[in-house]
Structure formats: structure tokens, C-alpha cells
Amino acid sequence: MKTCYINGVGCISTQNTFETEFLSEVTLNETENVLFANQPSYKEFIPPAMIRRMAKGVKMGIAASTKALKEANLDLPDAIITGTGMGCVEDSEKFLKAILDNNEQFLTPTSFIQSTHNTVGGQIALGLQCKGYNFTYVNGAVSFETALLDAKMQVENEEANNVLIGGVDETSSHTLELFKLINIIKSEADKPYSVVTPNSKGVVFSEGASFFVLENEKKDNSYASVQAVSIMSALEMDEVQDYIGTFLAAHDLKPSDIDAVVLGNNGDSEFDGYYDSTKTMFEATPQVFYKHLSGEYNTASSFGFWVACNIIKNQELPEIVSLNSLKKEKYTTVLLYNQYRGKDHSLIVLKNAKT
């Protein structure tokens, strides 16, 4: 069985993560309940004839994937697997609004075509002329993790030598308003917002795209290897410790083997308790958080994955993502845990490729 290495990354987020060194230019938000992506200029990635119809999610996906492929020095992956919670929701809204406002008349196909969930993966394939395996998973907070699991199996079983994977989600005005109505998004009245000490319900909502090249070969520029991935549909808070313990044991790991644990805390007072048992379990371990930088969206965990990759590659844990101020000399084995509103739990173990 082959090992699955991460050999290229590309990340577009609410921070300037696309064109800078890892977290060298970040700003901390405490007053906005919706954050928008810091998008690059797309002209160098996408021909003008194609860009005119593209949704934001497609553009972010193409730019982030181009960067990941370039870094891995790969022209054409064997497979493309994406995860997205909501797909290109802006075009879905546009088309639906047109249906309702014009009583099903004078509708045009472009926004309908873009609303299909696999439009990002499909258009990346179209641009690269990649005729290989092309999947899109859409399951809330495990959309990206399912893509990762699928890719890992294919790389390990030698069905694919390399796979491009990514998580992408975009915001859209109507959906944001709906999420505010039901307090999925934090209320204005609850400012300032904090992820470290959650004091209100809901999350700071955002968007982004993080793409990765996975290969069966270790290279000089490898970030890490993907050791294990687990997905669990739902858990009670008191079941989390057992879930993590069983998962680690199944991979011959003890909590003390973990050099850093990357947690998906998003500042929602109702659900961040899910991370409490992890904090106890890994009391002596450096704890990392990231959603205070990325905001929350269905595939925000792919931003966390990007953070973990960089910590391992750089062997350095930046202060801004450190939750308990602990540091280590070496970051060999890193565990990621994420969940959203008690559902879609995921665990990932990454290992330093150089060990």
C-alpha cells in the first residue's frame, strides 16, 4: 500500500493567504458577522472568454487549484475530487429569484448551469482537459473530508498516482439573510465576537477555497502525509472522547503521540462545548484553532487542513493560531478534529513527511 503525501497547496480565504507566506498578513475580526474572501486577480488563471460566466466559487476553485498544482509541479492530475456544502449558491439564488419574480418566464440557462454542485470540479476538469475521475461531495462539514478520504483510498490502492482535492464554498446575500433569521449567523447585538471565549450563539460566516495535491510519492516539497481519516454523522458531547480514543487506538496512537491538535472551534456558545473534552484529553498538547481567521463555512475545515499542513512543513506554530500557548520542538503527528452543530464530525491524522 502506498502512502498519500500532500505535495501542493493553494488557499483563498478571508485573509490574504493566496499570495503571502503562511499567515504573514492576517487581521483579526471581532466586529463583522460575515466575512468575504480576499480574492486574487483572476486574469492570470482564467481566460476572459471563460471567466464571464463563472461564479465566485468556480473562480476561487480554479485559482486555488492552479496554485496547488503549480506547487506540486503537476500539469494534469489523475483525479479531481471536490467538497462543497452549498455549491455555487449565488447562482442558485439568482436562478430561483428569476423563477419566482418573473413567474417562470424569460429564464436563461447560465445561472442554472452554475448552480449544479459539481460545477467547480467540472470546470476545473474542463480547463485542464482532465478526463479522469471527477467527484463532488456535498455533506455539510464533512464535504471536504469525504473528498480527502476518497482520494486517500485511491492513492493508497494505486488507482491514482495523484489527486487534486479541494473544499470550496461561497456566500450569497439571500442565504446570509436567512441564516441571520435563524441565528446561524451571530447577531449584531452580540459584538464583539470571540472564538476563544464564546459568549453568543451562532457563527461568523464566510467563504473560501483550499485545494491540495495528493500524491503517492514523497518529494522535497512534501507538506505531510495523510495517515488516517474518520467521519462520523452525529455524536453527543459526552461521546466525543470515546470517538477520538477509539480512532487513535485503531491507528496505534495514544493522545501523547500527538504533537498538536487542530480544533474547529467557531465561537458558537451552543456547540463549542464539543471541543471541551478534546481540550482535556490534550491538555499537555499544543492546541491550534483557526476559525477566528477563516470564519465558518461548510468547508472551513479545509482551511484548518491548510494550517496543519503548514505547521508541519514549517515546524513552527504561529502565535495567532495557538489556543493554549503550548509549543513543541517538533511537530511530527498532528490531529485535526472538526464538527458543526453536533453533526458531521471528522478526525484526520497528518504526519511529517520527513520522518
Binding site: 479531481i80 417562470e104 449544479t116 470540479g121 478526463k131 463532488t136 469525504t146 483510498m153 454523522s233 461548510n298
Partner: protein
């Protein structure tokens, strides 16, 4: 390595369970009709494969409380998945490492389009805001089954359910899971009706797959699920195996966002991969359940791809979409059930409404029910974004 199918369930416009679907297939009884469950200005100019049960009736069948927030997609899925689990004789769903992989394209769009503006005025309907995304329908099905484990959703347009089957089989083959419930569900929605209308590929009459004068597709709604189990579980539980998933392949046409390439490259590659994984020659295939949507583009492209694979020896083929309409993300799941029924009953189901062969090639589908010993069925499903999938089902 083949993966055993030990249970299946289905609800479609031709029947509310496996037996009813089989009965309609052998009797040539179509489910295409005029839309009744919701209002649309296109009511009189399109036909659909609609399940003639209201949301209230579906909720009642599932025993849901009045404060439930199931979309129609979730309800159809729960009904079909429950049938599949019962059919497989599963008593304790979490006894083995069990997963659920569903497929959907519209998810809870049926509720979103109903309450899009009303959400701001009426608090009572807000429970559906969280039912919009595709993953929600899958979670609802999992909760209905009491399943806790790997739950995820595939959405690759009209090939989605084939890809859910593929991922399920892969998870069992790699030893990650012992049992996976795989399939797909999609309800009819104004969103998709109008979407396909803008692409000008909706027929104004009964769809006629592979016919020279085909005018486009009829949309349909359906859900179907299969229970896949590892050999270990099959042996330990002494399970009756209905059929096996013996091969699968997915490829991208990389040609156009919605249309298929002229020579059916993606379809060709998908069939080629599936045959290779199944370790079968084209001549081993006894029946092709074609994608056959009856759009001018699909049937020509798929026909050419079939000819490239099978050359002079194309086995009997038919599209069952004249029965059910095109049920989008659920299509490959309902056609998986039909493929297993074909294997079990040694029957090829007719391609209804066919009259005139296409002039581009010499391909005539099977138009009447035919009895024939069937060992291997190849089922095609293709979707937007160039997504092309093939699954091969085998008796042994």
C-alpha cells in the same frame, strides 16, 4: 473484488416499492403524466414522472410528527432506504460499521422555492431553512434509519447515484466499512423544471429514448437505495445475495459544461474502466441499461460511445427513462434496482416509445420485454460537468 448487494428499496412514478416497479416494467406501464403536486406555468406543456403521493401522505407513511422539517427529497429517500434495510433483513443497523452514501441534486430545493420570501414573514416555515443543503436530506435518512457512522452525500448532477454506489463499494473493498447503504433521491422542483426548460431539452410529450424524432426528456422524481455488504458480513449472517457490484468507472468528458462530446469520450472511458475493474470483455455484457435521456445530444453521444466499446456486437439495450422520466441524482440508483431485477428475472425491460431508428447509426433498442439469461448488466449514467459513470452488476 466484487461487493454483494443484499437489499434494495425504491419509490418512483411507476411504483412505491420494488415489486410494483417490477410489475410496471414487465407490463410496459409508464409513470409519465401531468404534474399534480405543485403549480407551475409549464403544467400543460410538459410531462413528468411524478410520484402521486402528497408530502402529507409521505410524512404519514414515515410516521413523522407535524413539526418535522423533511424536504420531499428527504422523505422519498427515507422511504426507499428503509425498504432496502428491511429487505436486507437488518435488525441492528449499527451492529457492523455501517455507512450511508446518498446522492441528490436538488436537496431541499422544493421547500426553499416554496418559502423563499415567506421565510421573512412567517416564523413557522423557518424550520426548513436548514433543510436546503444536500447533506441535510442524507442526515434525515440516517436518523430515520437510526444509523450512526460515515454519512455523506455525492452530487455530480445526473450521475450522482452511480458515484454513491462506487464510493460505497470502494469503502467496503478498502476495509473501511462492513456495510454501506447507497443510493440517491431527488424530488421534482420548479427549480429543475425551469432549469431544463432553459436548456430547451424538455420534451412536450412522452420521452422517446434513442428515437430519431426524440424531442427531449421528461423530468421525474424518485429514490432508490441498495445495501452493500462485505463478504465477511454475508458469510457471518448467511445473507442471501441479490447480485454483485462487479465493476465501476467514472470519467470526465471535459468537453462542455452541459453537453456531451460528439464521440462520447467520457462515456467511452467510463465503460472501459468499469469493464476493466470487473475483469470482463464487452461480449460478457448481456444487457445495457442506457442513460438514454431522449435528448438529441445524449442519445447520439451515448450511442456512439456504446458502438466504440461494443463495435459489431452491441447487446440488447434499453433506456427505462420512458417509464420513470429522468430522475436526476436518483436515476442511477433506480436503474441499479432495475439492473438487479433484470439479473434476478433474466429479463430485459423494454425501451418504450421507440419508433424510428436514428439516422446517424444502426442502433435499435430492445422495445419489448425479452427473456434471456443475464449474467452481467452494464448501467450508464451521465451528468452535467462532463460527469460520466458506469456500474456493472453481476449475478455471481
Amino acid at each position: 473484488m466484487k461487493v454483494a448487494i443484499t437489499g434494495m428499496g425504491i419509490i418512483s412514478s411507476i411504483g412505491n416499492n420494488v415489486e410494483a416497479n417490477y410489475h410496471a416494467l414487465v407490463n410496459g406501464k409508464t409513470g409519465i403524466s401531468t404534474i399534480e403536486n405543485f403549480e407551475t406555468v409549464h403544467k400543460d406543456v410538459i410531462k413528468v414522472g411524478e410520484i402521486k403521493l402528497t408530502n402529507q401522505q409521505l410524512a404519514q407513511q414515515l410516521g413523522l410528527d407535524s413539526d418535522n422539517n423533511f424536504s420531499r427529497t428527504a422523505m422519498l429517500g427515507a422511504i426507499a432506504a428503509q425498504q432496502a434495510v428491511e429487505h436486507a433483513g437488518i435488525q441492528h443497523i449499527n451492529e457492523y460499521r455501517t455507512g450511508l452514501i446518498s446522492a441528490t441534486s436538488v436537496g431541499g430545493m422544493d421547500m426553499t422555492e416554496k418559502y423563499y420570501y415567506e421565510y421573512f414573514e412567517n416564523e413557522a416555515c423557518r424550520k426548513y431553512i436548514n433543510s436546503h443543503d444536500g447533506g441535510d436530506s442524507t442526515h434525515k435518512i440516517a436518523e430515520h434509519l437510526g444509523l450512526k457512522g460515515l454519512v455523506t452525500t455525492v452530487s455530480t448532477a445526473c450521475s450522482s447515484a452511480a458515484n454513491a454506489i462506487m464510493m460505497g463499494a470502494r469503502l467496503i473493498q478498502s476495509g473501511q466499512l462492513d456495510r454501506v447503504i447507497v443510493g440517491g433521491t431527488d424530488a421534482l422542483a420548479k427549480f429543475t423544471i425551469n432549469g431544463f426548460k432553459t436548456l430547451m431539452i424538455l420534451s412536450d410529450t412522452y420521452n422517446t429514448p434513442f428515437d430519431h424524432n426524440r424531442k427531449g426528456l421528461n423530468l421525474g422524481e424518485a429514490a432508490a437505495f441498495l445495501v452493500l455488504e462485505s463478504d465477511d458480513v454475508v458469510q457471518k449472517e448467511n445473507k442471501k445475495v441479490l447480485a454483485y457490484v462487479s465493476g465501476f468507472g467514472n470519467a470526465n468528458d471535459a468537453y462542455h459544461q452541459t453537453a456531451s462530446s460528439e464521440n462520447g469520450e467520457g462515456a467511452f472511458l467510463a465503460m472501459q474502466k468499469a469493464l476493466k475493474i470487473a475483469n470482463l470483455k464487452p461480449s460478457d455484457i448481456d444487457y445495457i441499461n442506457a442513460h438514454g435521456t431522449a435528448t438529441p445530444n445524449n442519445d447520439l453521444s451515448e450511442g456512439r460511445a456504446i458502438l466504440r466499446i461494443f463495435e459489431e456486437n452491441v447487446p440488447e439495450f434499453s433506456s427505462t427513462k420512458a417509464f420513470t422520466g429522468h430522475t436526476l441524482a436518483a436515476a442511477a440508483a433506480i436503474e441499479a434496482v432495475y439492473s438487479v431485477l433484470a439479473l434476478q428475472n433474466n429479463s430485459i425491460f423494454p425501451n418504450l416509445n421507440f419508433n424510428t431508428p436514428m439516422e446517424e447509426f444502426d442502433l435499435v433498442p430492445q422495445t419489448t420485454l425479452k427473456e434471456k439469461t443475464i449474467h452481467h448488466v452494464l448501467s450508464n449514467s451521465f451528468g452535467f460537468g462532463g460527469n460520466c459513470s458506469t456500474v456493472i452488476f453481476s449475478k455471481k
